[in-house]
């Protein structure tokens, strides 16, 4: 199971924090949360992975879809604070180049 905290910070950056396992079970929820923010005009999104304990290929697919959706809307999707488990999967799939982990949510769009 997963809980998704969705908020928008004072700079207008959307922050989504999935807590739990990001898998086939919950990937659709993440896609919908990203689509919801973009539709509402928030095209810069940080996915805060500090509470994401497990990531599978469906979860990765949702993140890649989010990168596309946000870029098409003139923004971007960045990930921050991945757990060890998530970092391992990103490296395994060579997606740490596309989804370069950022050290903090606040600074994710600074560099």
């Amino acid at each position: 199971m997963i809980e998704l905290d969705v908020s928008t910070d004072p700079r207008g950056v959307g922050v989504i924090a999935p807590r739990g396992r990001l898998t086939m079970v919950s990937a659709k929820q993440l896609r919908e949360a990203i689509d919801g923010l973009v539709t509402a005009g928030t095209a810069r999104i940080v996915v805060d992975l500090a509470g994401t304990t497990f990531l599978d290929s469906s979860g990765l697919g949702a993140l890649i879809a989010g990168v596309k959706t946000t870029r098409q809307a003139g923004g971007d999707l960045r990930i921050a604070r991945p757990t060890e488990a998530v970092t391992t999967v990103l490296k395994l799939t060579n997606l740490d180049r596309v989804l370069r982990p950022r050290e903090s949510v606040e600074d994710a769009f600074d560099v």
Partner: protein, 145 residues
């Protein structure tokens, strides 16, 4: 939701559960209990679980026609002295899988990474269709003593 013994003192899991996405959580909850009970090294457990989750998701997603009633699969996981092992059996349509042809898709692909991830994390992975069943066998050798 689950039937059978979802992990016990025996160092094993045996589950027969519906082939639907929610069952993946049942499997991972059972694995979490098993790793704790058996004191399996977390890095090894994560490697094995990553492969097992991808194969389980593949079974749930691809092995059955969407309208086939009573869709179930059976999972057995065993913590052995030399390896973590799992076997999945389903009576769905024969999976057309050639594991020797599996590669990672392009960076912008939204799907198609599952089997490549399983092959990368597991030391052994086989699939066969036998007597009307898809049979997947998975293993990670233990290096945690």
């Amino acid at each position: 939701m689950s039937e059978g013994d979802a992990g016990g003192a025996s160092g094993a899991i045996r589950l027969t559960i519906p082939a639907e996405p929610a069952s993946l959580d049942v499997v991972q909850d059972a694995l979490a209990r098993l790793w704790e009970q058996q004191g399996v090294d977390p890095v090894l457990a994560m490697r094995f679980e990553t492969g097992l989750v991808e194969i389980t998701a593949n079974v749930i997603e691809h092995s059955f026609d969407a309208d086939q009633p009573g869709r179930e699969f059976t999972l057995v996981v065993d913590v052995g002295a030399d390896a973590l092992r799992a076997e999945l059996r389903d009576n769905g349509v024969p999976a057309a899988v050639d594991l020797s042809e599996v590669t990672l898709p392009g960076d912008d692909a939204e799907s198609g990474r599952g089997l490549a991830m399983a092959l990368a994390t597991l030391d052994e992975l086989t699939h066969e269709h036998r007597e009307g069943l898809n049979v997947w066998r998975l293993a990670c050798r233990r290096t945690d003593g």
